[in-house]
Homo-oligomer: 472 residues x 2
């Protein structure tokens, strides 16, 4: 059996010493691919260490893909050719998902313009760590106390004040329902508004809304857009009761719905009982120029608008905090019919976020992210304009959020172009991907998300895009 | 206008100084109830401090109920008689929910036997804080990276190993779907299994499962129990496709389903395509005596069982982490039809919990909680037996989890008894509350949850229960 010696005095935990030794032996071929490792208990006995130590070492090896686990059989050394690169960043996802998962790991692009993700270094780790520590030491009883179903009161009060001051939106904390992401809140709304209602979405638009309506097996109509946003005639004709819109900054075209269309939409809602508007204000904080228009929620004296917002764009999608504001009659219905639901966000995040907002950090953070994004976007646009790609493209929707539209003049099919780009290490997603029925006139329009791409790659990325376009 | 001086050198933040001054003035009546406070901007200018400082002070006063906010009007001093007690624990919920919420705050009981909550001091705050800090400093990129929809791989790998070692349950990490609470996972299952299926629940049983099936507007049949758990004849006759069961420890009666009934249930599932069992193993870790039976999931060669578990009982409900294990064909369907859903648990909790399990803390914690619960339950049972209440009660279901059943011999109606108890400061919930149609023979059976009640109150609580029973 494999035998290793351990150095008790290094300060390196035993399990880590064992993990390293086995890893090195697998890498060096001392343990051949396919070799069955000793069972945890036997191995522990043999080495004179505890089972949990072996277990931890195996867990680490498993996570990093050096060994695989076969149910009821044991652990086997992975074959080297199938192994992720040894020197790859440990944080790399492909490294944590061993091959036995049998899933395609995402290819690594030089520049992934399709990744909606924020840049990881914009998250305020230091402040967050400090506030979290404070909360953890001073609010233990609160952290362990089941919050009201709408969420921790402090967070909702902080949100109401924040929305009043920075968005001009008046609401009471009790109207605010905090939930684990907008996706979750859409689902709650279908349960609240009814499975027999007809729902409508913008087309093109945020795909998840339509996906979720369909997962709930409710009727979902797609409504086209004109230059002012959702087409009122189509909406009227669709027979819809509930419509999902992104009036501050349409996703993905960037259209801001003007006041006139907003009033038309509110009139539509007021015209028949049971009509509601879901106003998804997902990135209004990151608007880069001009003052945002008042929210539909704030303009709506008829109380038919449900306001929705998220911390996905402003903090991180991985924090899973979104919220919605219910008009009074829906709030009553929610509390009566769905009062058994628990709030889905951990109290830990809720208290920390409440402090983060109340102490003014959120405002500062948004300003920082907005400024950084503006600079980053300017750099990307400059890089594109002065590159060989410049004459082949036109840009729109660049006044808001972390993406814009780019029309690229290329020959050949969209599929061919996207494949050429992929060969150049560039990942693109077309506007058509956000359309229920792709419109032929949008075949060469692409949604460019740049937040996750390092600035120093912009020049090279533009040249690669040019090469892809020119090669066809 | 109100004028205050500030001491810049105390180290106490300005906003806190201001908050204290206003609070003291309201308490002392210097600022009379109903007085409108100056607007934030005016007040800030007047005092020569920043608006955000006033804002923070107001937010604090608002949260603690010293002032109320009237939309579009401003902030008003709260009337003292309506104010929560000045010396009340700040962590007290009633303190954070000002009167304007217009909701009943829960009355404070001497002993609340109806509260399902864990004792707040059992959470491993110190270890959790340390692991969280580690994760926050060493895994920043991972924390900001969107995890697979089933959750962070490390957590799922840790769970698979944990279940193999401590529950004898074989699963692959990719089968494990992590979600923000069991309630959320029930909802996912309805979307996965279908809205046209007939669902069945145990009666009496865990009310939330039925509540959620009804919120999703799917047919939900109630199946009665015999001494071995769910009645197979009734299940067969119900026409159900999917059944929710708690075989390890039936909620709330404490029945453990014996092997024979388990095989009958598995045969039922295997007999017709599309039949599934949801095995809710919500507190199997806390079983107090005897070895738990193998899980249905592990016994099921037909792959018709969905295993579900949660950290609600073992860590805290406020952490919102549960998981389910899907059999292979459902996993494929889930990934295909519902692949657009994001994981609902923050990466922060997922990485911390993965470390907590992998490093062996979870096992130790469970042992600690189980031992503490056993001791606590013993003390409560002893207190009851030697009190005047002793001769009036019988106990069952005491071998598992954090509750048991107590039959109390009293005269009068259940309602009268519960009201008498409430007057004595005791909150009780009847077994009938978990029955769809309350069974008359259960009128004097109560579900006794004791985890949140301090031990030193047990003797007195038993005497108070006796007084309530004797008074009728």
């Amino acid at each position: 059996m494999l035998t290793y010696d351990f150095i008790e005095t290094t300060g390196t935990p035993l399990y880590e010493q064992l993990y390293r030794k086995i890893r090195d032996d697998i890498t060096a071929g001392v343990i051949a691919a396919g070799t069955r490792l000793p069972s945890k208990r036997t191995f522990a006995k043999h080495l004179g260490i505890s089972t949990i130590t072996v277990e931890n070492a195996y867990a680490q090896l498993l996570m990093e893909g050096y060994i695989v686990s076969c149910p009821r059989k044991g652990y086997y050394a992975e074959s080297l050719s199938e192994m992720p690169e040894k020197n790859a960043d440990r944080a790399d996802r492909s490294h944590k998902e061993p091959k036995r998962q049998k899933k395609e790991t995402a290819p690594e692009y030089f520049a992934d313009f399709a990744a909606g993700q924020n840049s990881f270094d914009s998250f305020p780790f230091t402040t967050w760590a400090r506030l979290f520590r404070d909360v953890l030491s001073s609010r233990q009883k609160d952290l362990m106390t089941k919050p009201p179903q709408g969420g921790v009161w402090e967070l909702r009060a902080a949100l109401a004040d924040y929305l009043r001051d920075f968005r001009g939106l008046e609401s009471e904390p009790e109207q605010i329902i905090v939930g684990a992401g907008t996706e979750y809140l859409y689902g709650l709304l279908v349960q609240l508004l009814g499975f027999d209602r007809i729902y409508a979405c913008e087309d093109p638009g945020y795909r998840k809304a339509a996906d979720i309506f369909e997962a709930y097996r409710v009727e979902c109509r797609r409504i086209s857009l004109d230059e002012n946003g959702i087409c009122m005639g189509d909406l009227e004709q669709s027979g819809a009761d509930v419509v999902h819109v992104t009036p501050s900054h349409h996703f993905p075209t960037g259209i801001t719905m003007p006041a006139g269309r907003r009033y038309e939409l509110l009139s539509w809602a007021a015209a028949r009982p049971g009509r509601y508007i879901i106003e998804d204000d997902y990135d209004s904080e990151l608007r880069m120029s001009g003052k945002p228009l008042p929210s539909l929620f704030g303009m709506d004296s008829g109380e038919r608008t449900i306001y929705m917002n998220t911390f996905t764009k402003t903090l991180s999608s991985t924090i899973r905090v979104s919220y919605m504001i219910l008009p009074p009659q829906l709030l009553t219905r929610f509390e009566t019919a769905m009062g058994f639901y628990s709030c889905t966000v951990p109290t830990f995040e809720q208290y920390t976020l409440a402090r983060f907002i109340r102490d003014g950090y959120f405002e500062k953070h948004i300003n920082r992210v907005r400024n950084a994004s503006r600079k980053k976007q300017d750099k990307l646009l400059t890089a594109i304009r002065k590159s060989s790609l410049g004459p082949l493209v036109s840009i729109s929707g660049e006044n808001a959020g972390l993406h814009f539209l780019m029309t690229i003049d290329y020959k050949g099919t969209k599929q061919e172009f996207i494949e050429r780009c992929a060969k150049e290490g560039i990942h693109l997603v077309g506007l058509q991907s956000y359309e229920h029925v792709p419109r032929p006139e949008h075949a060469n329009v692409f949604v460019i998300s740049y937040a996750s791409i390092p600035e120093e790659r912009f020049d090279e990325a533009a040249e690669r895009l040019f090469r892809a376009a020119a090669a066809l």
